[in-house]
C-alpha cells in the first residue's frame, strides 16, 4: 500500500493483507459511526431504564403523548426514505436528483424538529410542566428532547452536505460520506420509533 510518506500528508489508510489484496474490512469511519451509535444507544437505554424504574414508584403520573407526535413520526419515516433515495442517486451519479433528495431530507428533518417542538408546547400548555412532582411528562421532555438534539445534529450535517452538493466541488466521488449520513439518519429514525413504542406501552 502506502509506500512513501510525505511528512504530514500521508494517506492514513487501512493496511492490506498478506497476498497484497485489500482486506475486506469495513471502512474505519463507518466502523467509528457504528461504535458511536452503540454509545448513543447506551444513553437512551440508561434514560428509558430510569423511566421504567421510576414508573414503578409512588407518586408517578402518566401523561398522554401529544397527538402531533404521530405526524412527526410520519415525517421522519418519510425523510429516511428520501435519504435512502439520495444515497442511490449518488451511487448512480445522478447528481441533480441527489441534490434534490438531500434537500428534501434536510427539510423533512427540520420539519420533524419543529413538530416535536410543537408537541412539547401542546404538552406544556396542557399543564405538564417542569415544576413540581415527577412523572412521565418530565421524562418525555428530556428523552424526546435529547432525541431531537441528535436529529438536529444530523440536520446540521445534512446542511453541510447540501452546501457542498450545490457548490458542486465534489471532485472525489466517494460515497462514504453519504453512506455515513444515511446510516446515522436511519439510526435516529429507528431510535424515534423505539421511543414512540416505549412511550406508548410503558
Amino acid at each position: 500500500m502506502l509506500s512513501r510518506i510525505k511528512l504530514g500528508e500521508f494517506k492514513n489508510t487501512p493496511p492490506i493483507d498478506g497476498d497484497g489484496s485489500q482486506r475486506q474490512r469495513i471502512h474505519p469511519h463507518k466502523f467509528t459511526l457504528w461504535v458511536a451509535i452503540g454509545s448513543i444507544i447506551m444513553m437512551f437505554a440508561g434514560l428509558t431504564s430510569a423511566y421504567i424504574v421510576k414508573s414503578n414508584q409512588a407518586g408517578w403520573q402518566n401523561v398522554a403523548m401529544p397527538k402531533i407526535f404521530w405526524y412527526s413520526t410520519g415525517t421522519i419515516l418519510l425523510s429516511s426514505l428520501v435519504m435512502q433515495m439520495a444515497l442511490r442517486s449518488f451511487k448512480q451519479r445522478e447528481m441533480n436528483q441527489y441534490r434534490l433528495q438531500i434537500a428534501g431530507t434536510f427539510l423533512l428533518g427540520v420539519t420533524f424538529v419543529v413538530l416535536q417542538w410543537l408537541g412539547f408546547q401542546q404538552l406544556w400548555n396542557s399543564g405538564v410542566q417542569f415544576k413540581g412532582s415527577s412523572g412521565g411528562g418530565q421524562f418525555l421532555y428530556v428523552i424526546a428532547g435529547l432525541h431531537a438534539v441528535h436529529v438536529l445534529g444530523g440536520v446540521i450535517a445534512l446542511m453541510v452536505m447540501l452546501i457542498k452538493a450545490f457548490l458542486g466541488r465534489t471532485k472525489l466521488y466517494s460515497s462514504v460520506p453519504v453512506e455515513l449520513m444515511a446510516t446515522y439518519w436511519h439510526f435516529v429514525d429507528l431510535l424515534w420509533i423505539y421511543l414512540l413504542v416505549f412511550f406508548l406501552w410503558i
Binding site: L2, S3, P14, P15, I16, H27, P28, A50
Partner: protein
C-alpha cells in the same frame, strides 16, 4: 473503499531516489508551530498534550489532598500561611468546612477523571495504539484532536469553577443529590456544581471521541500480519478500556442531564419531600428518587474504576515481559481475563449501594458477581508473578513501578473481597476502609502503571531518557509512602472512622488515632514533594536528559521501536513494517529478543 484506489495493484516499491525526493519534499511542507504543537493531529503530540495537561492536574489534585490532610492530621493547629493564600477559605489559618468539602470533592474528581482517565488513557492510547499496531495515525486524526480539545475545555471550565465566589462543587466526587441538587443546602451546590456538571459533560464528550477512535483504530488499522493475537497486551488493555468508556460514559451523561434539570428547571427526577433547614422551606418536588442517580452514576462509576486500572495493567504486562526478558506468561489468559473483567464491570455496580435499602436478594446477586471479579484478577496477578519468576530481571525504574503495581493490586484487591460481601460492607461502607481500599487498588496502583509507562516510553516520546537515580528515589519513597499512608486507614475504618468528615474530635473513641493521623499527613507531604521531584525530572529530561542513541533502547519486540528515534508525523519513513510473530519472543532459541518484524525462521516453532 474510497481513498485507497491505488491499492489494487502490487505494493509499490520504494527506490532510494524516491525516498530522497520525499525527504526533499518535506522541507517544503514545514508545519507551523500551531499545527505542530497546538492544533496537532499527530497522535504522538496529542498523547503528550494529554500527558502534560494530566501532570498539571495531578499537581493541583495532589496539592488539594495535602491541604485537607493538614486539617485531618492537625485539626487544632493553625497555619497562618494558608490564610495568606486562601483568604476567607482558611480563616485564622484553619481550613473552613466548605473549603474542606470542596477540596475532597475536587481532589477526587480531578484525580479520577482528569488525571487517571484522560491523563492515563489519553496519553498511552494515543502514543501506543498507532505505534504498536503499525498505523500512520488514528482512524480519524481530526476526531482525535477534538478529543484533546474537549478535554482542554472541560479543564478550563473546571478550573474556572475553583474561582467562583461560592466555591467549586463540594458534594463529593460522586455528587449525590439531593445535596448536589440544592444550592440552598450547600455553598458548593450553587454555580460551582453547574460548572462541575458542564465540565464533566465536556469531559464525557472528550472520552467518547477518544474511545471511538481507539476502538476503530485497533480493529481497522493494524499493519500487515498484525493479527489480534499478535497484539501486545498494552493494546488489548487499551481496547477494553475504550469499550468500557464508550458504553458507560453516555449513561453517566444522562444522569448528569437529569441532575441539571433538577437543579435549574425544578423537575423532580431525584428530589422528593425535602425540607431545607438552611432556608426553612419545604420544596414542592415530589416523587423523585435519589437512588436513581446512584444507579446511573455507578453504572458508569464501577466501569470507570476499571477504565482507570486496565491501561495500567496493560503497561505493566508489557514492561514486565520486556524487562524480565521472558515471554509474558499466559498471553491468552491475560486477554481472556481482561475480557472477563470488562463484562463483569458492567454487572456489579450495585455493590456501591448495599446500604441504600437495596433488596437483599438482589444484593446477594451483586455479591456473587462482585466476588467473581476476583477470579480474573487473580489470574492476572498469577501471570505477572510467573512472568517475573526466574526472569533475567533488569531493575529499571519502570520495572520497579510495575512490580510495585502488582504488590498494590494484590493488597487492594484483597480488601475488595471484604467489601464485596454485603454483610461486611454494611459495617465498612463510608468509612476510611473504603478510602484505603480504593486508593491502594486503584489510585496508587494506577499511578504506578502510569509511572512505569512514562519511564519506559519517555525515550520514544522525547528521544531522551529520564534520570534513573531520581527514578529510584521516586519509586522507593512513593512505594513506602503509599503503604504508610493507606495501610493504617484500614484499621481506622474497621474501628468505624467515617470518610469525608473534617473533624473527628467529637468521638472520644477516635482520639487514639490522633498520632496516626499526624503521621499520615507528614508522609503525604513527603510523598507529594517526591512527585514534584519526578515532575522536575520529567521537564528537565525533555530538554537536558541523556540522549537516546539506539533505536531500540530496551531491546523490545514491539513495533514502536522500529520507528526512527524521533519519528515524524506518519511514524515510519518507509513502508510500515510487516509483522511475523507475537510481541513476546523473549529468550527464545538462545536469543534475548526477536522483534515482531522478523520472519519466522526455518524450523522455529510457533509461540
Amino acid at each position: 473503499m474510497s481513498n485507497d484506489s491505488n491499492l489494487h495493484g502490487k505494493p509499490e516499491i520504494v527506490t532510494g531516489h524516491e525516498v530522497h525526493h520525499d525527504e526533499h519534499h518535506v522541507h517544503h511542507h514545514k508545519e507551523t508551530f500551531i499545527t505542530k504543537y497546538v492544533f496537532s493531529q499527530d497522535h504522538k503530540t496529542i498523547g503528550k498534550q494529554f500527558l502534560i495537561t494530566g501532570i498539571a492536574w495531578a499537581i493541583i489534585g495532589g496539592l488539594f489532598s495535602v491541604l485537607f490532610r493538614l486539617q485531618l492530621g492537625f485539626p487544632d493547629q493553625t497555619f497562618p500561611i494558608l490564610e495568606t493564600f486562601f483568604g476567607r477559605y482558611a480563616k485564622g489559618g484553619q481550613i473552613q468546612p466548605e473549603f474542606y468539602y470542596a477540596l475532597i470533592t475536587m481532589h477526587g474528581t480531578v484525580l479520577v477523571f482528569f488525571v487517571l482517565t484522560a491523563g492515563l488513557s489519553g496519553t498511552f492510547a494515543n502514543l501506543l495504539i498507532p505505534l504498536q499496531c503499525g498505523a500512520r495515525d488514528m482512524a480519524s486524526p481530526f476526531l482525535n484532536m477534538l478529543s484533546y480539545w474537549f478535554f482542554f475545555m472541560a479543564s478550563v471550565v473546571m478550573v474556572s469553577s475553583l474561582f467562583v465566589s461560592t466555591g467549586p462543587a463540594s458534594g463529593g466526587w460522586t455528587s449525590y443529590p439531593p445535596l448536589s441538587a440544592l444550592g440552598d443546602a450547600n455553598q458548593g451546590s450553587k454555580i460551582g456544581t453547574d460548572l462541575w456538571l458542564i465540565a464533566m459533560a465536556l469531559f464525557v464528550v472528550s472520552s467518547l471521541l477518544g474511545g471511538l477512535n481507539y476502538i476503530s483504530t485497533i480493529l481497522n488499522m493494524r499493519t500487515k500480519g498484525m493479527s489480534m493475537t499478535r497484539l501486545p497486551l498494552t493494546i488489548w488493555a487499551l481496547f477494553f478500556t475504550a469499550i468500557l468508556g464508550v458504553l458507560s460514559f453516555p449513561v453517566l451523561l444522562s444522569g448528569f442531564i437529569l441532575l441539571l434539570f433538577d437543579r435549574n428547571l425544578g423537575t423532580s427526577f431525584y428530589l422528593s419531600d425535602i425540607f431545607v433547614s438552611q432556608t426553612g422551606q419545604a420544596l414542592p418536588n415530589e416523587g423523585g428518587s435519589a437512588i436513581l442517580y446512584q444507579h446511573l452514576f455507578w453504572f458508569l462509576g464501577h466501569p470507570e474504576v476499571y477504565i482507570i486500572i486496565l491501561p495500567s495493567m496493560g503497561i505493566v504486562s508489557e514492561v514486565l515481559a520486556v524487562n524480565s526478558r521472558k515471554p509474558i506468561f499466559g498471553y491468552m489468559a491475560m486477554v481472556g481475563s481482561l475480557f472477563a473483567i470488562t463484562i463483569l464491570a458492567f454487572l456489579v455496580w450495585a455493590h456501591h449501594m448495599f446500604v441504600t435499602g437495596l433488596n437483599p436478594f438482589l444484593g446477594s446477586i451483586f455479591v456473587l458477581l462482585t466476588l467473581l471479579i476476583a477470579v480474573p484478577s487473580a489470574i492476572k496477578v498469577f501471570n505477572w508473578l510467573t512472568t517475573l519468576w526466574r526472569g533475567n530481571i533488569r531493575f529499571t525504574p519502570a520495572t520497579l513501578f510495575s512490580i510495585g503495581f502488582v504488590s498494590l493490586f494484590i493488597s487492594g484487591g484483597l480488601t475488595g473481597v471484604f467489601l464485596g460481601n454485603s454483610t461486611i460492607d454494611i459495617h465498612l461502607h463510608d468509612t476510611k476502609f473504603i478510602v484505603a481500599h480504593f486508593h491502594i487498588v486503584m489510585g496508587v496502583a494506577s499511578f504506578f502503571g502510569m509511572f512505569a509507562g512514562v519511564y519506559h516510553w519517555f525515550p520514544k516520546m522525547f528521544g531522551r531518557y529520564l534520570n534513573s537515580t531520581l527514578g529510584f528515589i521516586h519509586f522507593w519513597v512513593t512505594m513506602a509512602g503509599a503503604y504508610l499512608i493507606f495501610w493504617p486507614m484500614h484499621y481506622e475504618g474497621l474501628a468505624g472512622v467515617p470518610r469525608r468528615y473534617l473533624d473527628l474530635s467529637g468521638w472520644h473513641n477516635f482520639n487514639k488515632f490522633g498520632e496516626l493521623n499526624k503521621m499520615i499527613t507528614v508522609v503525604s507531604i513527603i510523598v507529594f514533594a517526591v512527585q514534584l521531584m519526578f515532575i522536575f525530572n520529567f521537564f528537565y529530561s525533555i530538554f537536558k536528559g541523556r540522549k537516546v542513541r539506539h533505536q531500540n533502547p530496551w531491546g523490545a519486540n514491539t513495533l514502536e521501536w522500529t520507528t526512527p528515534i524521533r519519528p515524524g508525523h506518519g511514524n515510519w519513513t518507509g513502508e510500515i513494517p510487516e509483522v511475523h510473530r507475537w510481541a513476546y519472543d523473549y529468550g527464545k532459541d538462545g536469543r534475548e529478543f526477536i522483534p515482531q518484524t522478523e520472519p519466522i525462521g526455518k524450523g522455529e516453532g510457533h509461540h
